[in-house]
Amino acid sequence: MTAANRVTVGSERSCEVVRLRGDVDHGNAELVERDVLTATRAAVGVVIDLTGVTFLDSAGLRCLDRLVTAFLNRQAPVLVVAPDGGVVRFTLDLIGFLPDLVVGTVDEALTQLTA
C-alpha cells in the first residue's frame, strides 16, 4: 500500500479529516506519522479516522500518540475515530489509550469538534 493510499486528508466543516487505511505497525508507523503531519493544514480541529485500519500495534499507538501531541501543539483539537468492536478499538482498549479522544464515528467527532 502506498503512502497516498494509506493516508488521505480532507476538509469537512472546517476540520481536517485524516483517514488512515491498512496496517499501521512497526514497519510503517513513522512514515504514516510524517505523511499525516505534512498533509494537514491548520484547521478548527483534526479528526484521525482509523475506521479503515486493519491492524494497529504498539508502534501504531506510538504514532497516534505523537500525532495527537503534534496537533494539540498546533492548537488544533484532535479526536480519534475507532469503531466499537473493531480491531483498532480492541488495541486501544487493551491499553486504555486516550479514552477521552476516541469516538465511534467521524460524524460524531466533527460534531464534537465544531460544537
Partner: protein, 824 residues
C-alpha cells in the same frame, strides 16, 4: 445181349399194312416242303392233328401255319441250321390249328438233295408234344421261378445286410440302387424320401439333382405310390418305362423307389411283388436308421443343452454369457452366431458374435451388418429383420445370408418377454442333429440364462450404487483428525454385503466413527445398511452417548424390522481433550494404536448385536483419554476371520500387522492392513476398515527474517492457521497482535535491524491452550524508549494469560492463552 428173334411170317397177316398207310397213318406227322417252305406233301396224321384239309396246306409255306413266334424262330434258327448242317432234331415248333388253337410239336427235319435234279426237299417229322411241352413249360416256369427266387433272395439278403449296417438315413440309397440293378436290371433307380410336414418327395443320395422334388399332389407315379402305399406301374411310354414302390413301414410311407427301364421292358407280376418286398425291407431299415438317428440326435441335443446351461451358468454377467453362448454355437450349430440383447435401461443393445464381427464399430446394427466378414447383401433388411424378431419374439428368416448360406433369427425369450435375438447363419457342422424345435428350445434356455444374468446384474448394480452412495458421502474435514477407509467386496460373490462405515463430526466438537455389519447380502442388506447408517448418524449428532445410540438403535431395529443382529462399533472422540467414548454391539473390538505404545484392543463397552433382547437391556459404553497422535481402527469381522483360524488368532494377526505398518500415513496404513490381512484368502466376506487418526498437537512454525516489513505476511499466515484450528475470530486478533509485538521486539531489540537475522515463531494448540513462542539469537539491548517498549509488552501481557521472557543466548518470549471459544 442176345439178338431178338426175327419176325416170323405168322405175324404178317396181323399187320396188313401198306407203305401208303404207313405214311398217312403214321403216329407222327410227315411234311415234305421245298427249301422256301412250300408244302409239297403232308400226311393225314398231321392233317388230323391240325384240322386242315390237305388242300389248305399244299402249295403254301409251312411257316404260315406256325405261330408267329415259331415263324420267326424258323426264319432265324431253323432255316440257317438246316442250310448249315442239313438236319435238325428236336426243335420245338408250334402250329396254329385251323381252329386257331395251338399245337405243340417237336420237329425233326432233314434236307434231301435230289441227285438227279439238284433240287432239294425238306422232310419233317412232327411229333405231338402237347403233354411234354406242358410239362416242359412247368419245368421251365419252375426253374425260372427257382432261379428268380434264388436271385431275389440273394438280392434281398444283400440289400437287407447292407441296410442293417448303415447309420445314416441317406446311406439307404446305395443298397436300394444296388438291389434295383441286380434284381430288375433297372437302368435307373431313384430313391426319394418323404418329408411328411412339407408333403414333398426329395431325391436322396449323393449327386441327387436338386430339382427333382415331387409334391404329393403332383400327377406322377411317385406321388401316387405314396398315396396308395403300394407299387405303381404307370402306363409305359416309349421314353418312360417305370415302376415305383413305396418305402413302407407299418402302413406308413417313408419314401419311394423309382425303377426306370429301357423302352419296351415289361414288368412282370412277380417283379412287382419283389419291388413291394424291396420297399418293405428298405422301409424297415430306413425306420430303424431314423429311430437310431433320432435317438442319437436327441441324446446329442440334450447333452448339448445341458452343456449349454452349465457353461452359461459358469459365466457371470449377461455380456459374458452372450459371448460364451456364441462361442458354444459356432461351429457346431452354425458358421456364424450373434446375440443381440435389448437393454432397456440404456435403450441400446448388447451384442456378441462369433466370428467376432466387431471391427471399427461397436454399434449393434453395424455388427449385424458386418456379420460373416461384412458381406451381407442386404444389410438394412437383415438389421430390420433382427430388430423385428427382437420385438415380436418370432422366428424369422434372414432375407439373404452371405454366400448363399441360410440365416435364421431366433427370439430370446424370458419371463414372457422378448429380450433379444439369436442370429444363426450357415450350415451347422452337426446339421443332421439340428432342427427348429431344438433351436427354439436352445434359444429359450439361452434367453433365460441371459435374462437371469441381466436381472442379477441389475440387482447388483442397484445394490452397489446404493452402497457406493452411502459409503461415499461428505467426509468431515478438520485438521484435528483424519479418516481413511477401505472397502473390499468379497471375491467369491458379486452380491454386495451390508458392511458399512461412517465418520462425521458431532456438534460438540467431537468426531464420531462407526463400522457396522448388517446380516445378509444383496439389495435388502444394502438398503437396511443405509437406514441403520442414517439412524446412527442422526443419533450421534443429537449428542447421544454411545450406549444411548445403541439403545435407540435397538428400538429402531425392533420398530422397522430391519437389521436385526446387526453388529456395530461406535466411537466418539472429543477433539480437544482426546476423550474417547465407545461401545461395541456384538462387533469385533476397536484397535487403539497410541503414538508411543503397542496397539491394544478396546475390550470394554461391549454388548450384543442390535435387536437382541438381552443386549438391549444392558447397553454399555467405555471411555478413555487417548493421547494425540493415536490411531483407532474399526473394522468388520471379514478382516480378521479366516477359515480354520480362531478369532483371537485373527486379532493377533491384525495387531501384528498394525505394529508393522505403524509408521505409514493413515491412508496407506488402511490399505496395507487390508492387503496384509486378506492376501492369502482373497476374502470370502466383505471387509470394511476405518482408521481414525487423532492428530498431534497443531503446530505453527515460522522463521521470520528480521525486518519489520515481514511482520505483515507473518500475521496473515498465523491468522489463517488459527482459523484453520478453530480458534475463534474474537481471539485470533489478540493472539496475532501479541505474536507480532514479540517478533517486532526481537527485531528491534535483539538484532537491532540486522536484516540477515531470523526470528523463529512457534505456536501450538493442545488441550484448549495456545502456546506461543518467539525466539531470537541476538544480544538483548535495553530499549531506548521505554514507553513504547512497555506498551508492546503490555499488549502481550493483556492478550495472553501468561508471559515469560527468558533471556539467555538469545531471547525466548513464551506466552500462553487458554482458548475460550473452543472449550466446553
Amino acid at each position: 445181349m442176345a439178338e431178338p428173334p426175327p419176325p416170323t411170317e405168322s405175324f404178317v397177316p396181323l399187320l396188313e399194312e401198306s407203305a401208303e398207310d404207313l405214311y398217312e397213318g403214321a403216329p407222327c406227322g410227315y411234311l415234305s416242303v421245298l427249301p422256301d417252305g412250300t408244302v409239297a406233301r403232308v400226311n393225314q396224321t398231321l392233317l388230323d392233328w391240325t384240322g386242315y384239309q390237305r388242300a389248305d396246306l399244299l402249295g403254301r409255306r409251312v411257316q404260315s401255319f406256325y405261330t408267329i413266334g415259331s415263324r420267326i424262330f424258323h426264319e432265324t434258327h431253323l432255316g440257317p441250321l438246316l442250310h448249315m448242317q442239313g438236319e435238325v432234331r428236336g426243335v420245338a415248333i408250334e402250329f396254329r390249328r385251323a381252329d386257331g388253337s395251338r399245337l405243340d410239336t417237336l420237329v425233326n427235319a432233314v434236307l434231301r438233295q435230289n441227285p438227279g435234279t439238284g433240287s432239294s426237299v425238306l422232310r419233317m417229322t412232327v411229333f405231338d408234344a402237347t403233354d411234354r411241352r406242358s410239362y416242359e413249360r412247368e419245368l421251365l416256369d419252375e426253374r425260372r421261378r427257382a432261379e428268380r427266387n434264388a436271385a431275389r433272395i440273394r438280392v434281398l439278403q444283400d440289400m437287407v445286410a447292407r441296410c442293417a449296417s448303415i447309420d445314416r438315413a441317406v446311406d439307404i440309397v446305395a443298397p436300394i440302387v444296388a438291389a434295383g440293378t441286380a434284381a430288375f436290371e433297372a437302368s435307373t433307380t431313384v430313391v426319394r424320401l418323404l418329408d411328411p410336414e412339407e408333403s414333398v418327395l426329395t431325391v436322396a443320395g449323393p449327386g441327387a439333382p436338386a430339382t427333382a422334388s415331387i409334391l404329393l399332389a403332383d400327377p406322377v407315379a411317385e406321388a401316387h405310390a405314396v398315396r396308395v402305399g403300394d407299387v405303381v406301374v404307370p402306363e409305359p411310354t416309349p421314353a418312360d418305362v417305370r415302376a415305383v414302390t413305396p418305402l413302407v413301414v407299418d402302413d406308413r410311407v417313408l419314401g419311394t423307389v423309382s425303377f426306370g427301364f429301357p423302352p419296351g421292358r415289361r414288368i412282370a407280376a412277380d417283379e412287382v411283388e419283389l419291388m413291394r418286398t424291396v420297399g418293405r425291407q428298405a422301409g424297415q431299415a430306413l425306420e430303424r436308421v431314423r429311430l437310431h438317428e433320432e435317438t442319437a440326435r436327441r441324446a446329442w441335443q440334450s447333452a448339448f443343452l445341458a452343456r449349454l446351461s452349465r457353461d452359461l451358468d459358469e459365466a457371470v454377467g449377461s455380456a459374458d454369457r452372450a459371448r460364451r453362448l456364441v462361442n458354444l454355437l459356432v461351429p457346431e450349430l452354425a458358421e456364424y452366431a450373434q446375440v443381440e440383447m435389448v437393454r432397456e435401461e440404456q435403450t441400446g443393445w448388447l451384442s456378441a458374435s462369433v466370428p467376432d464381427a466387431r471391427g471399427a464399430t461397436d454399434s449393434a446394427d453395424e455388427v449385424i451388418a458386418c456379420g460373416l466378414r461384412g458381406t451381407w447383401p442386404t444389410r438394412e433388411e437383415v438389421v430390420a429383420t433382427v430388430r423385428a424378431a427382437a420385438r415380436s419374439g418370432q422366428v424369422a428368416t434372414v432375407p439373404a445370408a452371405p454366400h448363399g448360406r441360410r440365416g435364421l433369427v431366433l427370439p430370446l425369450r424370458a419371463r414372457s418377454a422378448a429380450i433379444g435375438t439369436l442370429l444363426l447363419v450357415g450350415e451347422a457342422a452337426e446339421r443332421s442333429r439340428v432342427d427348429q424345435d431344438f433351436l427354439l428350445d436352445l434359444a429359450d434356455r439361452a434367453g433365460l440364462a441371459l435374462d437371469n444374468a441381466r436381472l442379477a446384474e441389475q440387482d447388483r448394480e442397484i445394490a452397489r450404487t446404493l452402497q457406493r452412495s452411502l459409503l461415499v458421502t461428505e467426509r468431515p474435514t478438520d485438521s484435528r483428525f483424519h479418516v481413511a477407509t477401505v472397502y473390499r467386496p468379497a471375491v467369491e460373490t458379486l452380491e454386495v454385503g451390508g458392511d458399512w462405515y461412517d465418520a462425521f463430526t458431532t456438534s460438540t466438537g467431537s468426531v464420531g466413527v462407526v463400522v457396522g455389519d448388517v446380516v445378509g447380502r444383496g439389495i435388502r442388506a444394502a438398503s437396511a445398511m443405509g437406514q441403520l447408517r442414517s439412524a446412527v448418524r442422526a443419533l450421534a449428532k443429537a449428542q447421544c452417548s454411545p450406549a444411548t445410540v445403541l439403545k435407540h438403535m435397538d428400538d429402531f431395529v425392533a420398530t422397522l424390522e430391519v437389521g436385526q443382529m446387526t453388529t456395530l462399533a461406535y466411537a466418539e472422540l472429543a477433539l480437544d481433550t482426546g476423550m474417547l467414548r465407545y461401545a461395541c454391539a456384538g462387533h469385533p473390538p476397536p484397535l487403539l494404536l497410541p503414538p508411543d505404545a503397542a496397539p491394544r484392543f478396546l475390550w470394554e463397552g461391549r454388548s450384543g448385536p442390535l435387536g437382541t433382547h438381552t443386549a438391549s437391556r444392558a447397553r454399555r459404553e467405555a471411555e478413555l483419554t487417548v493421547p494425540r497422535g493415536s490411531r483407532l481402527l474399526l473394522y468388520t469381522d471379514g478382516l480378521v476371520e479366516r477359515r480354520g483360524e480362531r478369532i483371537d488368532q485373527g486379532l493377533d494377526r491384525l495387531a501384528d500387522a498394525v505394529e508393522v505398518h505403524r509408521k505409514s500415513p493413515l491412508a496407506a496404513l488402511a490399505e496395507q492392513l487390508s492387503d496384509a490381512m486378506l492376501d492369502s484368502e482373497g476374502g470370502h466376506d466383505d471387509t470394511c476398515l476405518l482408521a481414525l487418526a487423532f492428530a498431534g498437537a497443531p503446530l505453527f512454525r515460522a522463521a521470520v527474517p528480521a525486518r519489520m516489513s515481514r511482520l505483515r505476511p507473518l500475521r496473515a499466515e498465523l491468522h489463517e492457521w488459527l482459523a484453520g484450528h478453530q480458534v475463534p475470530e474474537s481471539e485470533r486478533y489478540g493472539i496475532v497482535l501479541a505474536c507480532s509485538e514479540a517478533v517486532a521486539n526481537a527485531i528491534e531489540h535483539g538484532y537491532q535491524g540486522d536484516p540477515s537475522a531470523v526470528v523463529s515463531v512457534t505456536v501450538t494448540i493442545d488441550g484448549g491452550f495456545l502456546d506461543l513462542r518467539v525466539s531470537d539469537t541476538g544480544r538483548w539491548r535495553a530499549p531506548m524508549a521505554s514507553a513504547d517498549r512497555g506498551r508492546g509488552m503490555a499488549l502481550m501481557g493483556r492478550v495472553m494469560d501468561d508471559l515469560v521472557v527468558d533471556r539467555g543466548a538469545g531471547t525466548n518470549v513464551l506466552m500462553r492463552r487458554e482458548l475460550r471459544g473452543t472449550g466446553r
